[in-house]
């Protein structure tokens, strides 16, 4: 659809943001935030990922059908991880069956 050409300036801006965030996530890795370390690291990674998908991969300018396809993929991925963890973490809740 859209013959939207993303400008070099936009690409450069995204590139600079990704570099800064790489520095930030590496630096924060050395700060003890307890259990929040992994949350912050994943939040930064997710934000970087969204930038890549939206601008480098042009999803921000794609058709709704393409956008829905990608959203569906990540929905299924989160189901995969969430239900697997629900299984792993709840083992042993029922006395006599689990370990």
């Amino acid at each position: 659809m859209t013959d939207h050409i993303v400008s070099k300036k936009t690409y450069a801006l995204i590139f600079a943001t990704l570099l800064v965030l790489t520095g930030v996530t590496t630096a924060i890795g050395y700060v003890d935030l307890g259990r929040m370390n992994v949350v912050v690291a994943l939040a930064i990674a997710a934000f970087k990922g969204v930038l890549v998908v939206l601008f480098f991969m042009h999803l921000a300018y794609s058709r709704r059908l393409t956008q829905l396809t990608i959203v569906a993929a990540f929905l299924w991925l989160s189901l995969l991880i969430a239900l697997t963890l629900a299984d792993i973490w709840s083992r042993g809740w029922i006395v006599g069956t689990g370990k």
């Binding site: 659809m1 013959d3 050409i5 993303v6 400008s7 070099k8 690409y11 450069a12 995204i14 590139f15 990704l18 570099l19 790489t22 520095g23 996530t25 590496t26 890795g29 050395y30 700060v31 003890d32 935030l33 370390n37 992994v38 690291a41 994943l42 930064i44 990674a45 970087k48 990922g49 890549v52 998908v53 601008f55 480098f56 991969m57 042009h58 794609s62 058709r63 059908l65 393409t66 396809t69 990608i70 569906a72 993929a73 990540f74 299924w76 991925l77 995969l80 991880i81 697997t84 963890l85 792993i88 973490w89």
Partner: protein, 220 residues
């Protein structure tokens, strides 16, 4: 019959160049969705084992070289940037810039592989490659070995994608140099770009999940 805009690159089953491009883009994304689920299974396995053996994962992670990891991240992000520039060059019909950007992207991809192989070599020297030669002095070596098995399989799968990407970009660069792509037909470059950005996307998650597990807890 078809009355849409005809270009050299328009195949007869499509009504218009626009429809053809939509079909190509969606098709590539469907393929990438299968890739997301492919890597997703491994990320799921990572999540389970890290939640079970967090301490061993931290101990293993602190044997990885953060500097190398950060450098390879920067190199890969830079290659994604030059790939984006290549797409822009194709769209604006600048063939010379397109070829230059593709070549820089390929070189950066090769640079990424060199840093990663250096990391693997170092781990091999430290006897941290899983198998009969695996030795880990700290506590819980069995679960640390699980960490390294997953590190090598996930970065290995990713590295194989980098290799395929280099092949894909090389073919694209050669075709561009031969003038195979008519002016204004940038779809093949965009599709190759989607693949390359996906490779970058996976690494954006691999870097913090493997290199930054427990940095704050240990030095040296």
């Amino acid at each position: 019959m078809a009355s849409g805009t005809r270009t050299l690159a328009l195949r007869h089953q499509f009504a218009s160049a626009e429809q053809q491009k939509d079909a190509s883009t969606l098709g590539m994304w469907i393929f990438l969705v299968t890739e997301i689920m492919f890597f997703g299974g491994m990320f799921c396995m990572y999540t389970v084992y890290r939640s079970l053996y967090a301490t061993a994962f931290g101990a293993g992670s602190n044997h990885l070289d953060v500097t190398l990891g950060a450098v390879s991240t920067v190199v890969l992000i830079a290659s994604s940037f030059t790939m984006a520039l290549a797409v822009n060059s194709a769209e604006t019909g600048n063939r010379r810039a397109l070829i230059t950007n593709l070549i820089i992207t390929i070189l950066l991809a090769a640079g990424f592989l060199v840093t990663e192989m250096w990391e693997w070599y170092q781990l091999h020297q430290e006897h941290l490659m899983p198998g009969s030669g695996f030795r880990f002095e700290g506590p819980d070596p069995g679960h640390v070995q699980i960490f390294f098995s997953m590190y090598f399989s996930m970065t290995g799968l990713h590295a194989s994608h980098v290799l395929i990407g280099i092949g894909l970009l090389t073919v694209t660069a050669i075709r561009a140099a031969r003038g195979t792509f008519p002016a204004g037909y940038s779809t093949p470059i965009e599709i190759a770009g989607l693949y390359w950005h996906f490779v970058d996307l996976v690494w954006i998650f691999l870097f913090p999940l493997y290199y930054l597990v427990a940095r704050h807890a240990a030095h040296g």
